[in-house]
Each structure stands twice: as structure tokens, then as C-alpha cells.
Amino acid sequence: MSEEGTGVVAHPEIEEDSCKGCGRCVAACPRKCLELKVTLNKMGIKPVGYTGTGCIGCGMCFYNCPEPYAIKVVKP
């Protein structure tokens, strides 16, 4: 979703190396636009990734995540 004029599209930003792959955000996303990746991060864990479309910037992924810096949400 983009807001007129700003050009910003809502999306999650993931810091892969801080993600523990617990999947809480995946389950919480109302738009089902997060999924665990198949590649490994530095800790040897499969981190979460954004499918690239559908985010409405609700922030539920951030609030369900136990890690402070694994995921944040940018929105218009």
C-alpha cells in the first residue's frame, strides 16, 4: 500500500542475523506475507523473509517477535 505523494510502500525490514526463526511473526501476519527462508543466517538458523508483497504495515510481526532488532516495519 502506498500513500499518495510519499512513494513509500509498507514493508517489514528484517535483520536476518538477529532472527531466531521462531515463526511467531509468520503466524501473526494477517496478510500471510512472511515466511521462513531456506537459507541460513550467521547463527545457522533459517530466518524469516518477506514475500515482497501484501504488507499493510500493521506492525503485528514486530510485536509478536521476541527479538528487539530482528524485524521492524516501515510504513507511509
Binding site: S18, P66, P68, K72, V73
Partner: protein, 483 residues
């Protein structure tokens, strides 16, 4: 553009010296979710510079690496006790204790409960994940019936280990708390409710309204033996069935919970609370002689520490004898401490006190091995004589049969203090006789003049006795100095 991101936490968590910003929590741990909310609320309310967190022992132990505010780390189960000290010493601060269910529900329950009962002005965040997490998933008081833990491998059996402890419900029986609520972080809706509750907790502390308890049901995937999503389900379904969510009390907002607690009637005159008198000095508090002004202690490393023990029956003036010596030391600008012993046998039984006199600041007021022991009766003599240091002195009333010899190198003086006092017609003055003995045997290392001033000052409230005791002191001393 707006970002929903972490507030109120440090940018890095250099816990193991590494350049890391990953917490120590297991994947999917409820602590992590709560930690983020706490930091966010603290920051959003602009309270970081006022907040002192009291951190627990348990999985929550490392919150000081995460929350950007002041921290004190308490011993296991003692966060509420430490928070009591913090919130009393720093009334300007927002004090928040963070405790788990092993910490608060078991080891520290009484600390937490009494602090709540006293209505201490701090907020307690209580993480209930139904077991001891850090130590390996043992049963906690909050463990559900039938829940498997490492110490209840066949499920908790109430017949053997009791029923789950409902902390909010128990605390709701108390008069003082202003806020008691239970929330959860099992899903989005609950997390947002949890955030609102944490805000409320901070609000109450910001305005110093009173004690607040927030219990948070949290999943522990590791010790539940479940993946993070299953663990969250367990938290929502099984734990909530035992521990219903809700606001048990928010006195200010709703009055909910208040009615359940019978309010005491207006207190009768005997029970009316009287204002606490303000004592300017300890001397006043203990009814110790005052009115003799002395400048503060002077440091003089050449004066070694001397330790005294005075013991006898209650009523023999043992405690005031100790005070006299301490007071004389004070007049001589020594460091000194007087420490009465209130053993279980205090009433009508033995009384004893310790005095330490030193040229340098004193670490401990207790005396295990005295240099000088003064005993007025047999039990106290027998109890303490073996402890006297080599080179020390024991002064004992002559009425005490010496069944036990003092250790080698300790000088024993038998002084007929009780008899002398009777002969002088003042049976209550046996302690003055002992003071005379201390002077005669040069046992105190203090000036005679100060000992005498201290003695006189102790009769400030009975001035008619001052001269009498001074006279007794001199006569007794003269008698004792006779070969």
C-alpha cells in the same frame, strides 16, 4: 514515513563481549516479547531517566543488558525486597521489579507478598511461564496440574505437590495494592493488551500511586518441549484455563476488587496511628545519655580496635553499662558501636551487648571474640568465657562459681560487684561497681574522666542519682585498688 521499531533498548547487547544485539532468550520466549514492550512503554512515556529496574535471578536476569535505564540486580527472590529499598530511598524514581515465577512465586514469595501488603511504591512485573526456566524446567508453584516438568516427569500431582499458585488472586486479598492484573503474550490481541497494562503500571509508578502487580503469562518453548507456536497455544489454552486473564483491581479507575476486601472500621482510640516521633540521633532513639556534646570521631590508626562483651541477667544494668563505655568512647572521639543482643531468652533471661571501640572506622558491631568480657551471672560467664581473646580480661561477679577456666593468657578478675552494691545500700548499682572495676583494671583504654562523665550522663533523667553513683564509683574503685 513511520517505522514501527524497538524503542528504549540499547543498540547493542555486548553480553559476551561480542558485537551482538540478539538477546539470550530462546526462540519464541515470552520474556523477549515482554522485554520489548517494557522498553517501549518506558521510552514512550519519557521515563527512561527516572526508571530504576530491579532485575531478578532467572531467565530474566540479563534485562540490564537490554533496557536503557538504571538497574539494580537482586539476589534470587529478593527483587521485591530490593525494590522496597529503592523506592523508599529514591521517591523521585519509577521503580519496577521484574521477576519470574520461580523467583517471585517460590523463593521470593514472602518478600513480594509483604511488599505488596505494605503498599510499597513500585510496580512488579511477574512473568508466569509455569516453571523454573533457567535452571532446567523444574516445577514451580505455578506449574499446572498434570504439567510435565523435569521434577514432575509424570505430570504435577496435586496430592503430592499441591495446586498451582494463583498469585494475582492471592495478592487481591491485600488491602494496599492499587493495581493487580493478569495478561498474556500468547498472541497479537493479548500482546496489545499487555502493552496497555504495562503502560498502566508505569503510569501508577510515575504518579507514585502505590503498589502494582502485573502478572504476564508467557510461553517457554524450551521447557514446554514445544515449538514456539505450540508453546504459545499452550500458554493461551492450558495456562489461561488455570489463570484467567483480567484486571483484578485498578482502584483509581474502576474500584474493581475493592469491595471484596472488608474495610476496617475506624480505629478505636487505642489503635489510632500516632505520628512517628522523629529522633534526631540514635542516642535519643535508644534513650541513651545525651546532652553531652562531643565532636565526631577522629581517625587515629594507632588506637587498635578493642572489643567488649557485657553479659548478665536482664535488669542488672548490662545494656546501660555497655552504653556507658560506648558513650565514654564517643566523648574521647573514638569510633564506637554498641550492639544489644536480643536472643530468644531476652525476656527475664540473659541480656548481653557488644561494644567496639576503635581509632578507625568499624566494620561490624558484633563481637565474637572479646578483649574484655564482663559477666554478672553464671550462665553468661560459661557461655562467653571460652571466646575471650588471648591477652584479654574477664571480669566476673564474685558470686559466680568458676567451674570453667578462661582460655590461656586471659586474666580473670572476680569482683564482688553485687555484694558491694548491696553493702553500699544501692543494690541496683552493681553495674556501676563493674564500671569501677573496668577503671581500676584499666580495661577500657579510655580516660577515667570520660567514663565518669558517661556514667553521670546516664542518670540524666534521675539527677538525684548522679552524685550518689559518682560517689559509689569512687568508693568501689578505691576498694578494688586495695591490694
Amino acid at each position: 514515513m513511520k517505522t514501527i521499531e524497538q524503542k528504549g533498548m540499547y543498540q547493542k547487547f555486548p553480553r559476551s563481549g561480542k558485537d551482538t544485539r540478539v538477546t539470550h532468550y530462546c526462540a519464541g520466549c515470552g520474556h523477549g516479547i515482554v522485554n520489548k514492550l517494557v522498553a517501549e512503554c518506558c521510552a514512550e512515556m519519557g521515563l527512561q531517566d527516572r526508571t530504576i529496574f530491579v532485575d531478578p535471578v532467572g531467565c530474566g536476569v540479563f534485562t540490564y543488558y537490554y533496557w536503557d535505564a538504571a538497574h539494580i540486580s537482586a539476589a534470587h527472590g529478593r527483587a521485591s525486597a530490593a525494590a522496597t529499598g529503592v523506592c523508599r530511598a529514591r521517591p523521585d524514581a519509577v521503580t519496577i521489579a521484574y521477576q519470574g515465577d520461580g523467583d517471585l512465586g517460590a523463593i521470593g514469595f514472602n518478600n513480594a507478598f509483604q511488599a505488596a501488603s505494605r503498599g510499597e511504591k513500585f510496580g512488579c512485573i511477574f512473568i508466569n511461564n509455569s516453571l523454573y526456566g533457567m535452571t532446567g524446567g523444574q516445577m514451580a508453584p505455578t506449574t499446572l496440574e498434570g504439567e510435565k516438568t523435569t521434577t514432575t516427569p509424570f505430570g504435577r500431582d496435586p496430592a503430592l505437590t499441591g495446586h498451582p499458585l494463583h498469585v494475582c488472586e492471592v495478592f487481591s486479598q491485600l488491602q494496599a495494592p492499587v493495581y493487580i492484573a493478569r495478561v498474556s503474550v500468547a498472541d497479537t490481541k493479548r500482546i496489545l493488551q499487555c502493552k496497555a497494562a504495562i503502560k498502566r503500571l508505569f503510569e501508577i509508578q510515575r504518579d507514585r500511586k502505590g503498589y502494582a502487580l502485573l502478572e504476564i503469562l508467557a510461553p517457554c518453548p524450551t521447557n514446554f518441549g514445544m515449538n514456539p507456536l505450540k508453546a504459545a497455544e499452550f500458554c493461551k489454552n492450558e495456562m489461561e484455563a488455570e489463570f484467567p486473564l483480567g484486571v483484578f483491581r485498578d482502584t483509581e479507575k474502576t474500584g474493581v476488587g475493592e469491595a471484596a476486601i472488608p474495610k476496617p472500621q475506624a480505629p478505636s482510640a487505642i489503635l489510632a496511628v500516632k505520628p512517628v516521633p522523629q529522633f534526631a540521633t540514635c542516642a535519643e532513639l535508644f534513650g541513651v545519655p545525651d546532652g553531652v556534646d562531643a565532636p565526631p570521631a577522629e581517625n587515629d590508626p594507632s588506637v587498635p580496635e578493642r572489643r567488649f562483651k557485657f553479659a548478665g541477667y536482664g535488669g542488672q544494668g548490662i545494656l546501660s553499662l555497655g552504653i556507658c563505655v560506648a558513650e565514654a568512647a564517643r566523648l574521647q572521639r573514638r569510633h564506637t558501636l554498641w550492639f544489644p543482643s536480643y536472643g530468644p531468652e531476652q525476656r527475664g533471661g540473659s541480656a548481653s551487648c557488644s561494644v567496639v571501640v576503635s581509632g578507625t572506622p568499624i566494620g561490624s558491631p558484633t563481637v565474637e571474640h572479646p578483649d574484655v568480657l564482663v559477666c554478672m551471672n553464671q550462665p553468661s560467664y560459661e557461655r562467653f568465657v571460652g571466646d575471650v581473646k588471648k591477652g584479654g580480661i574477664v571480669i566476673v561477679d564474685a558470686s559466680v562459681p568458676i567451674m570453667k577456666q578462661p582460655p590461656e593468657g586471659v586474666k580473670l578478675h572476680q569482683v564482688p560487684a553485687i555484694k558491694m552494691a548491696e553493702d553500699f545500700g544501692v543494690p541496683k548499682a552493681a553495674n556501676t561497681m563493674m564500671l569501677a572495676a573496668l577503671r581500676a583494671f584499666k580495661a577500657t583504654g579510655l580516660d577515667d574522666e570520660h567514663l565518669e562523665t558517661a556514667l553521670c550522663a546516664s542518670f540524666k533523667k534521675k539527677p538525684q542519682l548522679i552524685e550518689k553513683n559518682r560517689d559509689l564509683l569512687h568508693r568501689a574503685e578505691a576498694a578494688l585498688k586495695q591490694p
